[in-house]
Symmetry: D2
Subunit: 455 residues, 4 copies
């Protein structure tokens, strides 16, 4: 294997977008991983985009052969599970900040993360299982997932409640001595049409009368194809079926699982959910940055397309487009700063301290990047909306992130409510300013004026 | 037939969104049509949305049976071809303004216009054929289209040039004594996978060396399935195949059509294109208003959904949503004013005088309404992006309109260049203000001041 | 006087921006007024802008001599009080729609309306007095105001309550047999530093314990310089003192006025306030359109300025600016449609029916036009922010309108709450669609599908 | 003096907004400075805002006594000239990143920087003089400026050319043996109405026929009150006179200065201008962040104002305002990341490498923060626009930055043109993807498809 010492970051496209302060923090081991991920995506993924699509044409619910091959190869090259933060024993050892740089590159092709076993919901699920499972449970679920031998789904949203308020989750879990009996309905969670999808991590309500609303829920594992569990349909997102993973819609009718499948213990679902709100929350955002870079590059490629010269000028010769390209560039770079800061905050101060920065990424990034990708489509003209480019899929994925994990207004509300709590402190400071103003008036022999608008 | 006298506009939902100035202009015959179109869409189209989808599932390129039935029925009820402006002999007699009110209602379901033979590209094609064809040609193409016996495509965009600058269109048409031989490539134009699509109205380059760039092109009719004409693929738009009409991508290899298929004459394609830039240009916009109203209503329905009460409140109880609903309402209504004014301008002053107002609609309306539909999806939460609602299709259609007929920046450019021509006049006026200022200075005994920034 | 018959609207700059549907409605008498207002502003106001400023330099609280002269002249030419709607006996006879066209032109110079006695708050005050005063009161206050012999203020906002919720207004009015004794504080209301400002129309709380919150308040006239009434300071708006009218901040200490000064009767302030919410509400908006046109023209003038050619091109040669000019043009025109529709709705259906359209104007117009004026400043470059152009004042006035009469979020809330009341109706319709869907399923022999997201 | 060791950053309001990655980089000496600057602004500046205004009332062109006192005191406390980067011998030793944290705090009161001799244009001028002057020149100009004994102006913009293209600068400098004779006009550059303003750093054209456009200009020092130099007027910015510094407008008529006043040498103005484009460019942005924080805090204070409860709720209880506060918070924080990254890039890689990041700050920050301050005014209601709060001045200053140093579109253009140069590289990469795609097709036994839209 090549020594890391030889990797030069300056002038190296793999590192071109990484800000200086981040470059200064990434360790040699990460430099090597970033380079490898970059080479992988450039060589194995982007050129294979149409191969992947072609292989899906015959059977949309079967993972394409190319994915199987690439996963095998990536694993052999040590590119598997890079996301798992370095404090886990199972981790390959990257910090959140270092992994962010990898994740951005993965975002350039929407299934590239999957070739490296770094895709949602696997990332969140693996982290959850690594954190809360017993050794026995890890053997059954965590290691196969980390080995890439099967895939999993996370099942929380429900059609019958406002799921962004998770205390309302209502799927019924009756816990007996030996088993849990489940009844109700779920939306989302990957599709079990795909054979590889073998387990659901399910959150449900096991103790609805518990006076403490945060102790009513339980999280457990439901093997796919358990009797009584029926997939009603696949959900399309903006018209895309997102095959071969998809988004299922499920009916549970007297579904029975052994109590050994309960994670952490009955009534502890919120403890688990809390733990899931760490790095997984920004993986989407990191990859979105990469998607936006891809869209940006496609726009640039079109800007110098010799066949497309309206009124005799290249598209890139119009200074309206010059300004658009500048705005796209600056927006992506600003958003990268926001996400990298969130990753770094988790590294330095822990997931809890990073809560605000994570929410900030979650809200700002998809919104800003949707505009970038939309602009890229518009620069492309009509073809930008067709399968001639990956732009529509990039856009759709970014749009999806605005509702995944709760609509952004729910997150914005949370941020706003936290901030409102600081108002009283500023009010007190304002009162002190006024007192001090009166002192200064005396000193300068000025009559203090009353202004009616402020304290 | 029911007498029009009995139709009351006040408090009647069919007329609820029509501004007073427009109400005052629509004649009894139009009042009746609007009412009929409204009843038709409410009773026959909206409830049938899922029937239509179901019937498409088996064979995506066959027009669903329900469409055939509804077209027959609509024709029998006098709801066919309403769009054709009243100065045509074939017209049912509505003004552009009156038809606009119908078109908005049709927009509520994206295939409703088709049940009334008022859908694109049929509308533009029928108008073109009605305007420029010989009686013989009308018999072959116009009347079957108006009767709903077949459907047609309009084929202009090309992959090899900047089609928004139509003088670049390059598909080669060699005109001999008897026939025209066509070679080249085209993008868009409905799909000939569908049996009913029987003719292309094709614009190509027949005289590339003509010194006058506006006389180089010819428009003619190519029957579907002519030898040498091959559909390469169907184009998806943001992932949707838009079956069963679709958007084709075509290869012409020595395609031969008789010279009788030439419309108006060789080299006269721009005359025809010019004529096509009338009412057809705003039909999209009119229907978009209806789509946005539909999205708006779905958002309102969600606002009072009893199952969805985050933190115990209806979605519609949050005053952030109250403000959002207000903004959506006001945006739609403002955009309606813009389109209705364009329609009315064409009625009062002709299509040419309406050019600016048409461009204004074309640019502003899809942009503004995309935000409205996007907001509706967001209020809906995750389900708003799935097939559980028609919102994703409404959004996608509006997005498509931003590139159909050329990206909006091309139209914006045209408007801007026209406006720049007026600058000189304002400059002259500014100079007169200064002269007059100097006179006034004398009168008021003031030293004139020189300001360096203005003339 | 010239006969109106000779005025040609086509190609006439006075009518260039009026949409066809409005042109078709304005009567000859209005055509003549519009022409006269146009000529007046072009000849007497725009060239005199710097004269006005110069004359203010010496004494900022004295109305400049040029204003006195122009008012005298305008009155002699029949250009006074044009705003008063035609149903008033004192009206010059224009409809709201016709006056709108005049008001737009007046907006081109911020004090032009004043030369025609059509400025705020005079317009609202005159309408109020014309509507609610006794003949005796009219003689004292209405006719002098209409004659231009004095000026007035409207005093409602208070520093100690949330004035956008008018029921909170708290200035104390103690009504005795003969007089009313007033105590409290007010913000805004023109400056009594100016000698011509001779009366305040004041809203206060005379019956705080009345169980009906809408019957607690009284409106009355307070002559300027009544004992106990003290102007604390002039309020600047974004740094401008808006001299010589200004915005006062007032303290009332045992101010006494005779009960004859009460308008309509004690406890009837809300009846009056309601009546004031008619045309006066959109006069600001009409004038803002004119301001934006002025800013637009200044931007165009700069676009062809021969001294300003960055990188050798006119500012107007950059196609980013070409697109900006197009956007500015289209925004202004869309906003004009919104306001003209509001004016027309009042004409056709009365002020109450126009409530929504008025609010729509109030919210949308200043927001949209602020962007237009801001863009004009930016095209102008640094000088666009200085006194070298009227742009900063145009912007500031538009910004002010966003808070005058309550911040726009208050109005948006009102619109949104009204709309939310319609949600139930749409929900019922949605349920009917589902019933009908089930019927259609039977007919087409399809199993009805349950979708979980919609009713 | 207290030892820096005792300063705790956690929970300390002086450090509350500094991101973790920056905290980790600031050295103890900077920690102490930041704390001192914070205490200084909180105790000496914010409470004195009205004192400052009051003292200006009498004579607007005399620096208020409180400023003199505070400058003396700040200098004694080692708070002078903090901005000068650490590689200068005259520097107090802070990195750009460390100083950024100080500058943000200074921004909370617009004249606070001046009390610490860290205000524009002094900062840029001092840096320029420190970089390019001879020891003799330093003695005459640099040290007095650094000592705070006088103040200076930078004079570049002209009314007669497009100054954003600096090669057009045309003020005539005739260089003789002993002196330079200057003729022409300038806009901006502080006001010489103020006695303390004692020198202009002037850029002019000394060699108009030089074939190299970058060698035609010379920079020199003109003492205020040199014969022939006349200030025509003070320029207001959005209505503010920005006294007592102001923005002058100047006429040069045969102004003579000795050739010893030339900096660096004749024809070397662009070398100097280039050097000036470093840290000074982002000082505005750093302070703007502080201004926006101030506006944000004022909005929060209003959110819990007990007198302002529309419909019975605190302003901060409305969830539309909760969401607004969240958006304001997140926008400020994102912009801070952008500026801090620019500062850090200069520290790590030099000013030249930071060019893009500086431009990014220059363009994005004022635009984004204008919206934040505008929202704060709107939350404040009508009073937010008056002198009752500092909000209008905060807004105006941010607006000014959008045109200072050239309108943002000029900078955006520069960024966009630089980016367009990268298009070719991406195009080549795209071609390689296609080659590799064809290889993969062979491997997977797939017919390569031609897509017409992409290379």
């Amino acid at each position: 294997m090549t020594s890391t010492i030889s990797i030069q970051m300056d002038g190296n496209p793999a590192f071109a977008r990484i800000p200086p302060w981040v470059k200064a923090k990434i360790r040699p081991i990460a430099v090597e991983k970033i380079q490898n991920v970059y080479d992988w995506v450039e060589t194995e993924c982007i050129p294979a985009e149409r191969i992947y699509k072609k292989q899906l044409e015959g059977d949309r619910w079967k993972t394409p052969a190319i994915i199987h091959e690439l996963r095998k190869k990536a694993k052999a090259q040590g590119l598997f599970n890079l996301f798992l933060p370095k404090h886990f024993v199972e981790s390959p050892g990257l910090t959140n900040l270092e992994y962010s740089c990898c994740a951005e590159i993965m975002g350039r092709v929407y299934w590239a993360a999957q070739t490296m076993n770094c895709h949602a919901p696997e990332t969140g699920n693996i982290e959850l299982l690594a954190k809360y499972c017993t050794p026995e449970q890890k053997k059954r679920w965590l290691y196969p997932l980390m080995n890439g031998d099967m895939s999993s789904a996370y099942s929380m949203t429900e059609p019958d409640v406002a799921s962004s308020d998770a205390t309302q989750i209502g799927i019924r879990m009756e816990i007996t001595d030996k088993e849990v009996i489940i009844n109700g309905r779920k939306l989302y969670g990957n599709c079990q049409y795909n054979e590889e999808m073998q387990l659901f991590i399910l959150m449900g309500c096991s103790d609805p009368k518990n006076p403490n609303a945060w102790n009513r829920h339980t999280t457990l594992v439901v093997p796919a194809k358990t009797a009584g569990l029926k997939q009603v349909r696949n959900l399309t997102i903006m018209g895309y079926d997102w095959a071969p993973e998809g988004h299922g819609e499920y009916m549970y009718e007297n579904v029975r699982v052994p109590i050994e499948n309960i994670i952490l213990g009955p009534g502890r679902a919120f403890e688990i959910a809390q733990g899931r709100l760490g790095p997984g929350r920004i993986h989407h955002c990191m990859r979105l940055i990469g998607q936006a870079e891809r869209a940006y590059e496609l726009a640039l490629v079109r800007c110098v397309e010799p066949r497309k010269k309206p009124r005799g000028k290249f598209i890139g010769d119009f200074d309206s487009n010059i300004e658009r390209i500048a705005d796209m560039r600056m927006t992506i770079d600003a958003m990268r700063q926001v996400v990298l800061n969130a990753a770094d905050t988790m590294d330095l101060q822990g997931n809890k301290a990073g809560r605000y920065a994570i929410a900030q990424s979650k809200i700002m990034v998809p919104n800003a990047l949707l505009k970038v990708i939309d602009e890229a489509m518009q620069i492309y003209g009509g073809q930008g909306l067709t399968q001639h480019t990956p732009l529509p899929e990039l856009w759709t994925y970014a749009r999806f992130v605005r509702v995944a994990d709760g609509p952004d207004s729910a997150h914005r509300h949370q941020v706003g409510r936290d901030q409102m709590k600081t108002a009283k402190g500023f009010r007190e400071r304002a009162e002190k300013y006024t007192e001090r103003y009166k002192e200064l008036c005396k000193k300068w022999n000025i009559e203090p004026e009353e202004f009616w608008g402020i304290v």
